[in-house]
Each structure stands twice: as C-alpha cells, then as structure tokens.
C-alpha cells in the first residue's frame, strides 16, 4: 500500500521562478547602487556606470564559473519594450523645456547631422580597413560596416552629465548634450533599422537609398506628431481626474507607454514619440494634477528609469564575461580609434558651422567637453545584441561594441573630470582677491544674470511668443481644469509652499538653527561697542571659504534640474523665495508700491494694479485640494485690510528661515522690543501672538479663518500676520508700514 503522503513543507520553485529571478536581479543591482554611495569619494571620481559595469563583470565572472547563463534580458523584445521606455521617459520628462527649445536648432543639428556624420565616417573608414588583407575581415560588406558604425555612434549622457555638474559647464552645453543624447537615440535606432534593412538586400539601388532617406523623415516627424498627439490627449484626460486623484500617475504612465507601443506598431520612432509626449504633457499635467500626484509621477519615473539604467549597465558587465567573443585586433582597435576620431572631428566641424547662428557660441573648451564627453552606453549595447543572426560577423560586432563602450565609459568617464578641471583653471589666485571683491563680483554676476532674464531670449523669441499666445488662448482652455491666468511666480510660489509645508511635516528634525535675525544683529550692534575688529589672515581665509561654499550660484550654473539620477532640487529656489516672501506677499495685496518711509528696503514691488482686489484673480476655492492635502482657504477679507503701523524704527529686512518660522517682532513705536528669535514653528499651523510666545493652534488641515481679535492687534503694533491661514500670508510681518486701508 503506497500512498502519496501529503508533504508538510513543499518547495515549488518553477512556479515563481521568473518573477523571483527578476526581483533578485533588480535587488542585486540596487544593492550595488546603494553600496556606491556609502563611500562618497568613489562616486566623485568614478561615474556610476563604471561601477555598475564592474560589479556586473564580477557577477558575470561568478556566473561563468558556475556555467550559468544570464537571463535573456537583452533580447530584442525585452530591451526595446521594457527596458528602454523608462529611460527615455525619464529623459523626456525631466528635460528643461525652455532652454531646450531655445537651443532646439543646435540640438537637432548635433543629434541628427552629427550622428549621420559619425556613422558614415566610421562606416567608410572601417570598410577601408576591411579591404586590407592583413586583418582578415574582408567579408564584411559596406552595409554591415555602416550598421556597426551606426551602433557605436550613439552617445549616452549619464556619466557625462554627472561630471558636467561639478564643473562649471554652462547651461548651453548641458542642454546640447542632453538633447543630443536624447535625439541621437532616436536617430541611431532609425539608422540602425535603415542599415539593417539595407544590409539584408543584396543589391542597393539609388532609389532605395532615397526611399530610405524619405523614410527617415517619416519616422522622425511621425514620431514627433504622434507624441504630441498623445501628450495632448493625456493632458485632456487629466482635466477630468479631479475626483480620482489616485489614478492620475497611472494615466500618465499608461499614455506614455501607449504612445511608445503604438509608435512601435507603426514602425515610426517610438523614442521620439515618448519623449515628445512627455514634453508636451508635462506642462499641462502639472497644472491639473494634485501636488501629491505630481510628486508621485516624478518619483516613479525617476525610480523606474534609474532601475532600468542600472540593470542595463549591470548586464553589460555580466554579459561581457558570459558571451562568446570573437576578437580581431585590427578591426576592433580601429573601430575604437575611428569612433573617437570621427566624433572629435564631427564636433569641431559642426560647431564651426553652427556657431555663427548661435547667440552664445561654443568656445574650445565647450567643444572639448562635447567631443570627449561622447560616451557610449546602453543603447549601443542593446542594438548590438539585437543584430539579426544573418550577419556573419555578429559576434565580432558585439565584441567591438562592448570594447568601445567599456573604453569610453571607463577611460573617458574617469578622466573627463580632471581634464575639464584642468582646462578650467582660474586665472586669478583666489586668495589675492579681497572679500570685498568676491562679494561685489558675485553681486554683479547676479545682476547680469537677472538682467539677461529680463531681456529674455533674443532670437527665437518670435515663435515662442506666438506659441504662447496660442497656448494661452486655446490650449489652456481646453486642457487645463481651472484655467486662471495667474502670475506664474505666484503659482510657483504656492507650489513651493505646499511642497515645503509637506517637507516640514516630514522632517521635524531640529537641526536647523534659528534664522539669523538681522533684528538681533541690529540690536547687538547698537549695544556693542564700535571698536574695529582685527582680522587675522586665517579669519580672512575662512571667510573666503565660507563665501565660496555658501554664496548662491548664478542661475546658469545651477544645473540641478539636469542631474539624471536625482530629482530636481529646488532648495536654493525655496530659500530665495522664502526670503522674498514679503515682497511676494505684497503682490497679493492691494497695497501701495512705494513705502513713504525712506528706510524701507526692497519692499516695494509686486502690487496689484490699483483698484483691483484679489478676489477677482484668486477665488478661494482654487486652493482646496480634494485629496486631503493641506487645505487652505485664503481669507481675503483680511488681506484687503492690511493693517500696518508706522514706526520710526529703521528695521532691516529680516530673512525668513526656510523651514522654521522664526517669530519676532520689530521695534515698535512705544519701544517695545521683543526678541523672539528662536521660537519655532514646528508645523504649518502654528501661530505667533503678539505677546511673544508661540501659540500653536490651528491643527494642520483644517480651514481657518481670521478672527477679528487679531485685527485689532495689528493696529497697535506691527505684527505677524498670525492668522492669515494661507501659507503665503502667514509669515511674520516685520516691516512696519504706514497704516493703509484699502
């Protein structure tokens, strides 16, 4: 009698095998990524891609010795349908649109013409090499050479951009590299398909060539139009998702992916489609969706893109060890040589041609950055792998691609930083500059940057203006839910406020010291004796260091938005906006422009046009978010009667702490002089009363209204607008003003 006993404990591996292995691989790659950042020094000198490949090599070695095969991640379908879209979406979504469109011509020029130049140049040179008998590669046809050349021409931005950030490469270069990488993905894929198709043919006729060129345009433009279409549809859909906030991110992703897939269906450029889709929809979507959805979208895109990229580099390492290689010294080394040579030449020539058309021409250092920064990466790799098998020398090509990628990523990736630094040597010795010089110079730089922004952009202005008009009149009405033409700076400020508020809730750590209050400085100054301090040279050096670390960088050197691996960081922006809070706040008040008190500083701007009230522009309901975000309603009655009190005191502007609200009162007429520095608002809703202690009422999330009692308080002394609930209104009002009833 045999019965099958019921096992108490079973192991059913095959059932979960595939998801399990996927999860493990992703986890492994993520550990690698975490591991790198433990030692900060490593990531400074070695780009992440190098590290990932190294780890991949190690793992590949292990697998090889165990005679395991790596998962078939880099097959055509898996790569193009699953791994590539997230990366491209990431690039597209975080592309800074304004500089991008301003440099559009240059970007296209380098991407399209540059890649063509590279491919054709490398292809022909390699073909010439093939003719030399010594290398034994005569069987490679011209078409196959072109194919290979197109594969190794595609540049990859990751390492380059990380390095560019630390060196002061200006925005223009950044955008060109960024855009070039994006577009030349598309171009390469198109060329690849083209040459693939051509390589399969035995005889190439002239007609075919023209057809293919025509096809190139169809593909490119088709992708763009498709993308734009999907972008608009997405924006339109998000207009109606007011009640179902949870699925908003999902909609974005679905539509983007759909754009990609359908473009693949029609064999037009799916990469262009998804990028243009992301670009188009971003603007409208971010106005329609809630704050949380916006954050979610950004985070998820970054996450998936980052994972995808990590995996690809990782597998690059793994597969390098585990595939069958075919090595041919001559061919491969020459391929490498030509790749570098043609890129350098290409950049040189193309820059010469396009420089006259640019407002800010590229100098030699820029060109070097562009040329040397042409690292190859993921796309080349995948394309090599997906070569059809009827190409005789497929293994040779794969090996060649891997060599080029590894060389550029390791050698160029690691050395580009020191080289750029070398070229960037400061002419003047820092320590010979006085503190005076440094400060004034920085002020002037900020001034010039500001005036440049004021002037706007010269050349493409006309089209942009036309588009903006069209946008405002037609598109916004259709695609955006509540369409209020409010000042963009106020909108931005509100958005930052909300984000800020949420962050405050997240990090309640107390390590942010009380804001250096200038009031306290002022008072201490009055009390302190006015002896001249002696400064040691070490003091001065310290000051120099302090300045260099802490002075805000000029706008066009702050390239945080283009860091591929992190989210856009607007800490600086936040700090600056917080400080200018009062002046911004006044923009929402019907206040007067110039204070009559001559001692008032910088308090003069952004008043509404006379006679208009706030309600006409910002109806309160706009700010209520249904998903339980911070609900705040502006109570406009309080704003319309801003109570201000005059004071003879000359109070300097007190800067506002970004995350903690420091309450303080100012010198009042009756000499009451309370210093409330150090009182902290621990969350959004706290409140400062006039007698100098924190009353922390107003639980977060409830809607609050201004009580009349505090109105009176304002009349007597200049006071913090304690009870105005809207974040914009709630800052202490430290500057005494003339009583002003409107």
């Amino acid at each position: 009698m045999c019965e099958t006993t019921q096992a108490v404990f079973t192991l059913n591996y095959p059932r979960i095998q595939i998801p399990f292995e996927i999860t493990l691989w992703v986890l492994l790659a993520s550990f690698a990524k975490i591991g790198f950042h433990v030692y900060h020094k490593i990531t400074v000198w070695v780009p992440e891609s190098c590290l990932l490949i190294s780890i991949g090599l190690i793992v590949g070695g292990i697998m090889h010795s165990l005679h395991e095969k790596p998962p078939a991640v880099l097959t055509s379908n898996a790569f193009f349908l699953y791994m590539l879209p997230p990366i491209v979406l990431d690039s597209g979504y975080f592309m800074p649109t304004r500089p991008f469109f301003e440099n559009f011509g240059t970007v296209l020029w380098f991407a399209v013409v540059g890649t063509l130049w590279n491919s054709i140049g490398i292809g022909i040179s390699l073909f010439a090499i093939c003719q030399i008998e010594v290398f034994g590669v005569q069987d490679i046809t011209l078409q196959e050479n072109f194919l290979f050349a197109s594969i190794i021409s595609a540049v990859e931005p990751v390492a380059v951009l990380t390095v560019f950030e630390d060196i002061s490469v200006h925005e223009q270069l950044y955008i060109v590299v960024f855009g070039e990488c994006l577009f030349n993905d598309a171009v390469t894929v198109v060329l690849y398909n083209l040459f693939n198709h051509v390589a399969a043919l035995e005889v190439v006729e002239a007609g075919d060539v023209f057809l293919d060129i025509g096809r190139f345009f169809v593909v490119g433009l088709g992708g763009t139009i498709f993308g734009a279409l999907f972008g608009f549809v997405t924006a339109f859909t998000t207009r109606f998702t007011g009640k179902v906030r949870e699925i908003e991110p999902l909609i974005i992703f679905l539509y983007s992916y759909l754009a990609y897939l359908i473009a693949e269906l029609f064999a037009i450029s799916s990469i262009m489609a998804i990028v243009i889709c992301a670009l188009t929809m971003k603007y409208y979507v971010e106005e329609n969706v809630s704050q949380r959805s916006c954050t979610t979208i950004r985070h998820v895109i970054k996450m998936v893109g980052s994972v995808s990229e990590t995996l690809i580099f990782f597998f690059l390492g793994v597969v390098t060890i585990t595939t069958e290689h075919e090595w041919n010294w001559g061919y491969i080394l020459f391929a490498l040589l030509f790749a570098l040579l043609w890129r350098g030449l290409g950049i040189l020539v193309l820059t010469q041609i396009i420089n006259p058309f640019r407002t800010i021409p590229f100098n030699f250092k820029d060109q070097f950055g562009l040329a040397y920064g042409g690292l190859r990466g993921a796309v080349s790799f995948a394309l090599a792998f997906t070569l059809p098998d009827n190409i005789g020398r497929k293994d040779l090509f794969i090996t060649g691609t891997i060599v080029v990628i590894i060389f550029t990523v390791f050698i160029q990736g690691i050395t580009i930083r020191p080289l750029l630094k070398l070229m960037n040597v400061r002419k003047t010795n820092r320590n010979q500059e006085t503190i005076n010089d440094e400060i004034h110079k920085r002020l002037m730089e900020h001034t010039v940057a500001g005036i440049e922004d004021l002037c706007g952009q010269w050349s493409h202005y006309y089209w942009k203006d036309k588009f903006m008009k069209f946008n405002n009149r037609i598109l916004r009405k259709i695609l955006i839910r509540d369409n209020h033409p409010e000042s963009s700076i106020v909108a931005l400020y509100k958005k930052l406020e909300l984000q800020n508020a949420m962050e405050v809730l997240d990090q309640m750590s107390g390590d942010i010291s009380a804001a250096p209050s200038l009031i306290s400085l002022h008072e201490e100054r009055k009390n302190a004796s006015k002896s001249r301090k002696k400064f040691l040279s070490s003091d001065v050096t310290n000051m120099h260091e302090l300045l260099s670390k802490n002075m805000y960088k000029i706008r066009h050197r702050t390239v945080s938005y283009t860091n591929k691996h992190t989210l856009p960081d607007d800490i600086t922006a936040r700090e600056i906006l917080m400080r200018r809070h009062t002046s911004l706040r006044r923009s929402l008040r019907a206040g007067s422009f110039h204070g009559t008190n001559a001692a008032k500083m910088s308090q003069k701007y952004f008043s509404l046009p006379m006679g208009r009230s706030l309600n006409s522009r910002f109806p309160p309901r706009r700010l209520v978010h249904a998903d339980g975000d911070i609900e705040s309603e502006i109570n406009y009655s309080s704003i319309r009667h801003p109570q201000r009190v005059s004071s003879k005191a000359v109070m300097p502007l007190r800067p506002l702490n970004t995350l903690k609200e420091v309450a303080s009162s100012v010198n009042t007429v009756d000499g009451q002089n309370e210093e409330q520095r150090g009182c902290r608002r621990s969350h959004l809703g706290s409140n400062v009363s006039r007698s100098g202690h924190l009353t922390s009422h107003l639980p977060h999330g409830s809607s609050r209204n201004c009580s009349d009692g505090d109105h009176d308080a304002w009349v007597e002394e200049p006071q913090n607008n304690s009870d105005v609930q809207h974040p914009l209104m709630r800052r202490p009002h430290w500057l005494p003003q003339k009583p002003h009833d409107k």
């Binding site: 500001g450 004021l454 110039h594 008043s607 300097p652």
Partner: protein, 194 residues
C-alpha cells in the same frame, strides 16, 4: 516682427533714445518687443507686477533689488524709454567711440555701471552703503547655513577693506576705488546687447 522702419516709427523719440543709449535699431526693436511682451495688459508702461512675472528673475537672490532699480523713487511705472536707458547700462563699452569733449558720459561707461551696482546696495539712496545695507545683501546672497557672527564678520571685513575715511559706511568713491582692479566692463556687460 514687422518691418524695421514701421516699428521704429511707432516708438516716440526713438532717435534720441538711440543716440543716448547707443543701441542699434535692431536692438531697440527687440527691446520694444520684449517690453510689449512683458506689458501684458498693453498699457504702455510696466509696473512691478509685470517684472514679477518673470520666473527666473524671482529666483534671483537680488531679484527684487534689480527690479527696484528700474523704478525711480516715487514712480510706479516704467515707460519704454526708462526701460531702455536702464538696460543700456549693460551694453559692453564701445572701445572705439570718439571722445567728444562736451558730450555727457555714455550710459554704459564704467562709472555708470558702478553707480548701478552701487544703487543695488544703497536702497535708501543716501549715497552710502551702511553696514545694515551690506548685511542685507549678504544675507540675500548667502545660504541659510551662515550664522550671524559669520555674516557680521564678513560685513565688517568688507567695510574695513573699503572704508577709507573710517565712517563705517562705504561711499561711492570708496566703492569705486575698492573695485579698481576688477574689469567692470566684463562683469557688468551682456554680450548680446552690443
């Protein structure tokens, strides 16, 4: 963008403007387009609110000071002429302009550029940069991590380096003198305004 002449004609006193500022007609037209674009309501003059709409300017640490420089005390609007004249400060210096003995100093002279920078500090327009004014600017330009004492010592040092008559403020002359080694033309010019 319209034909050159017709647009130029629409601007009153454009000849005088070009003479005073040294801008070419093409630049005047571009500036005029920009002015009109900023002046969203088409009133013919700009108010601070219009400047506020420029996002990047708002992100500038001294953005409000820059905007304030456009509005002379007591005035709340900027017309096109004033707009252009202020922007003329940022033209690169014309090196080969003949020095006529009786003509007034060009707007983009080194001295005038320095005056512009000076007024960004000197908000109360008393002709001197006081310690407080300096502190304010420093506060605006430095990140939040800088403490009071550090700020104060920097301000003290700055004044010490520049202040020659020991009145604890920096007058315009002292300001100018302290910056004599710096190439102001390079620092305070915008290339595309040439």
């Amino acid at each position: 963008m319209g034909s050159t002449n017709s647009t130029l004609l629409k601007i009153p006193n454009v000849e005088v403007l070009m003479q005073e500022t040294g801008f070419s007609p093409a630049h005047i037209i571009r500036l005029h387009d920009r002015f009109k674009a900023l002046d969203k309501e088409g009133r013919g003059h700009l108010c601070p609110h219009d400047f506020g709409a420029i996002k990047e300017l708002a992100m500038n640490p001294i953005g409000d000071r820059i905007i304030g420089a456009f509005f002379s005390p007591g005035k709340e609007t900027v017309d096109f002429h004033t707009f252009v004249k202020i922007l003329a400060h940022f033209r690169p210096v014309d090196k080969d302009r003949p020095k006529e003995p009786n003509s007034p100093e060009p707007i983009n002279s080194r001295s005038n550029k320095l005056k512009f920078a000076f007024q960004l500090y000197d908000q109360d327009k008393d002709g001197k940069i006081s310690r407080d004014e300096l502190l304010q600017v420093l506060r605006a330009m430095l990140g939040m991590q800088v403490t009071d004492e550090q700020l104060e010592s920097i301000a003290d040092r700055t004044i010490q380096e520049a202040d020659l008559d020991r009145d604890d403020t920096i007058s315009f002359e002292e300001f100018r003198k302290s910056l004599e080694k710096i190439n102001i033309d390079h620092k305070m010019s915008i290339r595309f305004l040439r």
